[in-house]
Structure formats: C-alpha cells, structure tokens
Symmetry: C2
Subunit: 335 residues, 2 copies
C-alpha cells in the first residue's frame, strides 16, 4: 500500500496511491490526514488496504496522481530522529576533519533529535538565505512508527514500523562545526527536510524490505547528473529496529515518529573511500562525502556546496525501473 | 487568559480556566484542542478571551477545575527546543565537571532540539526504569509560539509568543556525558518532560512579563521540602525573543512550537555558587546544581538524584500567593 498527502491546509489530505504511482483516490472517509490514520492504525489500515486494492483495480473513482501536488506525507510530525547508520559515511566525514572516530560508533548508534515541525513537500524549493552556510543534501531512508513502548528490543521495534520513505535531510555544513563543538546537537544547521511523495508499507516492498533494512540503489542526481547510487541495504551498520530501540531505550514514542537512517553510503569494492559515478563508482548521497574523498585524495575539496539554482533529485527504482516512492526534486532558491 | 487541556484522547480537550484556577468551561465550539487554537489563533483568540471573561463572571456553565484532571496543555507538540538562558547554571555545571565554559556562551545561546512527541501531564508519575540513570528534575519557563518566519529579530520574535507556562524537563544525568561526547545532543538522556496545568497569555501576567522574560520566584520542592526559589527574571542572559530568533535563524517555526528557558538559576548575592534554601539561599532548580555546589565546596556531591518514591513540585505564586500556572507535582515510579 502506498499513501500520500495532497497539499491542503497544515497537514495535507490523505490519499491512497496506486502501486504504479499513476492514480490516487481520496481516503477522507477513513482518515482525513496521515497522522490521523497512524493514530488509529488498527482500524484504518485494513480499510486503507481495501481502498488501495480498489484503486489498483479501477473499482473506485480515481484521479491522476501528480507528485507536484503532494505535500510531505507528514507535513508536520511529532518526532524526527535521525540516525547515522552508515558508519562508513561518519568515518569518512570525520577523517576529512582530521578527527578520529571512536570505536564505540560501530556498536552504539549516533542519532540526533531533529526539528519535526515542518517537512517540505517533494517538489518544494529549498529556501537558502545565505549560500555561505554551505547547504548540502543528504539522501536517506526513513521509517514511520506506530506507538512504540519504552524498552523495546530491536526485533520488537521492527514490528512497529508502519511506513517507509525517502528524505532529503538538508544540512548547513558550515554551521555544523560550531554546533558540534557546543555538544547540544543541531539547531541552526538542520533546517526543514523534504520527504518523498509517497510512503509505502513494508509488505509492498517485497524482498527489498528485509531485517529492518531497505535494499536497492538510492539514485541521487545533482543538476541533472548522476551523483550517487549507493545501495541502502549495504553497509547499514544499524538496521531500523536497532535505531528505534536506541531511541526508545528511556522513553516511549508516539505514532507518527519518523526515524532516519542517516546518509546512505557504501564502501568501495576495494575498501577505498569511494569513486564518483562517472568513474564507475557508487558515488555519494551528500556533497560532504565527495568533498571528503577529494580532501583525502588531493588535500582539498573541489565540489561546491549547493548554490541558488542548483537542483537535487532523489529516487529509488524497482526492478522494472519504476519509481517506488516517487522523486524528491528540489531547487535551491534565495529568500 | 488561562488555557488548559483536560485529559482526553491523544491531544486533550481544550478548556478555558478562570484566573484563580478554580473553574473551567469547555472551549470545544471554538477549538477542540490547544493545537487547533494555535493553528487558527487570529480567529480563536478573541473568542477564547470572551469565553474566559464569561468564566470569571460566572456567565457560562462552568465546572471545578482540578489540576489532576489536566493533561499537558500540549500532550504532543510539533517542536520542543530548550535553551540554556541562565548561563550561570551552565557555568556551574561545567565547572563541577572540570570543563571550561567558552566565553561565547555569554553571547551565543546554547539550545537543543528535544523530543516533543509526548509531554506528561502535571500530575503524571515520572516513569524511571533504572535509578542508576541519575534522574533529575529541571524547573524551567516555557513559551509557546505562533507561526514564526525565518530570520525574525528578537524584538519581532517576542510578538509571536502566544502562551507561557512551566516545565519539568526531566533529565537522566548519568547518560548525559556519553551523549555530550558524541556531539549530537540528547536522545536517551532526555525522556518526556511535564508541563504545568495551565498556560497563560502574556497580557494576563501583567508586570511579571517584561522584555521577553517572566519575573518571579520559581518555587521548587523536593519531597515536600523547599529546594529552590530562584527568580526567573534574574540572571536570564537570553530572553525568549533572543532564544526564538536563535532557533528561527535558518528556518521558520510552526505554531505550537514550545521553547524552553533552561534551568532557572540565580547567582548568590555575594557572587558565590549559591546556598541552599534552608541556609537562606535561593536554592536550586535541579539536583545537578546542588551537587555542583557541593562538589565545589566539599569535593564531592552529597545530594542523590531522584529515586523511586521521590516527589517533585514546581510552581510560581503571584503577589497574593495564588498559583499562576498551577503546580507540576510528580512522583518518580519504577516501571
């Protein structure tokens, strides 16, 4: 089952989208918003599934689904906690800063509490007041949970995953060192993130969803050129069950909590820091990582952070090259 | 005007409370929940104010307001960002850890993004799975904003403050050093916080609300004994306008964002680290601070962190010794 929120008011209007993303039908009679459906999932889920089947079989009135009409599936959420599950990425970024990565990072997940009050829609422009802030994309996987009791195990936590999607976790890289030094996490360096047009239930992902990981190449394009194609299921040190259990160790989580994987990143086959796509590598899911590789190889970064007019596209295709979640496609604009 | 949310479903039921906290009347016909009122404040505020006047004048059917029936005014919120505006407190806590405080902390607010998916009601027990986590209270002031555009000045930001209240920002002190070392802020060391029974509009606070600061002694009791009575308007280095502007530097904030002051803390009159209330001092708004003072004076902390069965009470009284926001009164319990 695929769900989306069409732009409407503060929370969007819940719709069920066909498997091929071509059609939608209104789910208002079941739940007016995605959050309302998550709040009452046991009642809503079977009814939404029945509606989804009807959409696929043209058994209900349906309209064309345009990704540009979609808000973020949760335009505002009660929680956004972003892990750094691809420890490879963390190690690379630290190395470029000349910082050692503690061994504990391989066993104890890094995670920050992000601002959840506003998620951009998949086609919304990224407002950037100051290019010197060093604006970066971060292509990641997210899951949305139901209510999660405190102290769940990773195994139990996986059963609380309701929906899966993509995020562009916009970061202001040049503001990060100052905030990291304060030790209190990210406030100014993490403005609103953008979510994929649709969120998908685990069962609808088939073999791609296994052991709390989403498998498949995450396609990232920068200004229309291939920039990254790392596989989200590879080198993910902590699966989503582990990430949720980490967050829920000392507190329960309410339905609609969004948990992020951190920037998807694969090691090179030869164990090296990773080649660009046009050199046959898997590329990168954020600019910081290519700058890191450039720094390691040549002593200085060459790729610039995002400037006004730059475009970013993030998508995952299935085996038949159809988009699974729709595409996040954003232009950076001045404000 | 004073507003509260009676326990009901996930978001409570919005009620208007009389100035003396004795009576309430349902505000359902204006807005079903506090968040709904904040979402549409321009329309709701005058109607809620009219209703509040009617409650005070017994012009509408009203019921007795019992603080034990109150949920948190916002049982779940879209944002919770907590500052450390009482830099005195930060300096003390760091000194006890043997860490220097950078001079920039006097000009650049320290702030973390907290979990906002669950706020405890004012009488809810504090669930503590493990006493060795070092559970602490933190008595603070909070404000709730309307929609705040990116890049507001502190002056402008003050006009976006809709409501003011109290919070017990529960902290797990022994988990903090590990999370601080990771640099990503607090995830496990900050479980759910508790909010005061009512939130109050700035105008209803009279002279106590000035220049983005709440003035008056914040009464903190631990196991029925006076523990703190620091004045929230004194030694607040950053007023709420500055804190909101800090958070909104790179992003807009949605209505219903809760911004915290950090633990209220006053310097001693002689500039010393502060005496306990029973020695004629202003005491403390968290246990960590008395432990810090003990460490500075005697080399080791003497006061224990919260254990199962301990009780905490946080309140602010007006000039006639009436409670302004009602009392947060919680017992620590095992789970």
């Amino acid at each position: 089952m695929k769900l989306a929120s069409l732009k409407h008011g503060r929370d969007g209007r819940l719709v069920v989208v066909s498997s091929d993303l071509a059609w939608f039908t209104d789910a208002f009679l079941i739940a007016p918003t995605m959050q309302a459906a998550l709040d009452d999932w046991e009642r809503c889920e079977p009814r939404l599934r029945a509606l989804a089947e009807s959409v696929d079989h043209e058994a209900v009135p349906r309209g064309r689904f345009h990704e540009r009409d979609a808000a973020a599936p949760l335009p505002r959420a009660y929680q956004w906690a972003d892990g750094s599950a691809y420890v490879n990425h963390v190690e690379l970024v630290r190395r470029a800063r000349g910082a050692e990565m503690p061994d504990s990072f391989w066993t104890d997940p890094l995670m920050y509490q992000g601002g959840s009050d506003h998620f951009m829609g998949p086609r919304d422009a990224i407002p950037l007041a100051d290019e010197s802030w060093g604006c970066d994309l971060e292509a990641e996987i997210v899951v949305v949970t139901g209510d999660v009791p405190q102290g769940v195990t990773p195994d139990e936590a996986r059963d609380h995953i309701r929906l899966i999607g993509l995020v562009n976790d916009v970061s202001l890289r040049n503001l990060i060192p100052g905030e990291l030094a304060k030790g209190f996490g990210f406030v100014q360096s993490k403005p609103a993130s953008a979510l994929s047009p649709v969120f998908v239930t685990p069962d609808a992902l088939g073999d791609r969803w296994q052991d709390g990981k989403l498998h498949g190449a995450l396609s990232v394009q920068l200004n229309g050129k291939d920039f990254g194609r790392a596989d989200a299921g590879i080198d993910m040190t902590f699966d989503f069950g582990v990430l949720i259990a980490h967050l829920a160790r000392t507190r329960s989580l309410v339905a609609g909590s969004i948990i992020g994987s951190g920037t998807v990143s694969n090691r090179d086959a030869d164990g090296g820091p990773g080649k660009p796509v046009d050199q046959g590598g898997l590329g990168y899911s954020c600019i910081a990582e290519v700058r890191t590789v450039e720094t390691i190889l040549t002593g200085a970064p060459a790729t610039a952070f995002l400037r006004h007019g730059d475009t970013v596209r993030i998508e995952m295709l299935d085996d038949r090259h159809h988009s699974i979640f729709g595409a996040i496609e954003q232009e950076v604009v001045g404000i």
